[in-house]
């Protein structure tokens, strides 16, 4: 049985945070694979 509304996790905050982190992660992947690796190894 579900608890009172005050006991429920903050779903909206979780969704917003997950979207923000997901976008950041996609940006990191983009920079890493599309800019950093094609530049070639230093040395």
């Amino acid at each position: 049985m579900s608890g009172s509304p005050d006991d429920s996790p903050p779903r909206g905050a979780i969704i917003i945070a997950a979207i923000a982190v997901g976008l950041l992660f996609l940006g990191w992947l983009g920079f890493y694979f599309l800019l950093f690796l094609p530049r070639g190894a230093i040395g």
């Binding site: 608890g3 006991d7 429920s8 996790p9 903050p10 979780i14 945070a17 982190v21 992660f25 990191w28 992947l29 890493y32 690796l37 530049r39 070639g40 190894a41 230093i42 040395g43």
Partner: protein, 186 residues
């Protein structure tokens, strides 16, 4: 014997925070795994040449005397570039190099620490007095590349930069050894 008080149920927010922490740890683990895997697959590593030189006498004898600086064509078709980074210029401050050719930069400093960066390429290293920095690259496209010092070296650091003109391989091979050492054709 007294009974221990019943444990209070865990608040939902704590459970949520623990799950979020776990998810972030997994995300960091994935990023670390990607970096390690690609580093091993592409053999990525920082410049590792360790070679010492006397900064006080490098202009008197050896490979960094003035008439030996610039681009030199090697017997195997590759190009070796010898440069000096000094307050507040690179010597020579303009280079002509061939595209699609293995190029080795050897650079040192007679005074303070400088930075050596070729914008848009993999060339990026520090130039430390007393050591010869060595980096390799291959220019895929012809064009002009800027080469700023990116390590603060003094009051006129912002004026310390050079230019690299990358020309087609055929054009480079037609240049005389003197022309390869400066940007006379531009």
């Amino acid at each position: 014997m007294a009974e221990s008080p019943p444990r209070e149920p865990e608040p939902p927010t704590e459970r949520t925070e623990r799950r979020w922490l776990l998810a972030m740890c997994l995300l960091l683990a994935v990023m670390m795994a990607v970096v390690v895997a690609t580093s091993l697959a592409h053999a990525l590593h920082p410049p590792s040449n360790v070679e010492t030189i006397d900064p006080l006498s490098l202009h008197l004898a050896g490979e960094f005397v003035e008439n030996n600086l610039g681009a030199a064509l090697e017997p195997d078709g590759s190009v070796t570039v010898r440069l000096l980074a000094q307050q507040y210029s690179f010597v020579p401050n303009c280079l002509i190099l061939p595209a699609d050719t293995s190029i080795k930069f050897r650079i040192t400093s007679p005074d303070v620490i400088h930075g050596f960066l070729l914008v848009g390429t993999n060339v990026n290293t520090m130039v430390v007095p007393g050591f010869v920095a060595e980096v390799r690259t291959r220019f895929a496209a012809v064009g002009d590349y800027t080469m700023p010092c990116h390590e603060y070296c003094g009051l006129a650091h912002h004026d310390m930069w050079a230019r690299v003109a990358v020309v087609p391989k055929d054009q480079f091979s037609q240049l005389g050894s003197t022309q390869r050492r400066r940007c006379a054709i531009h």
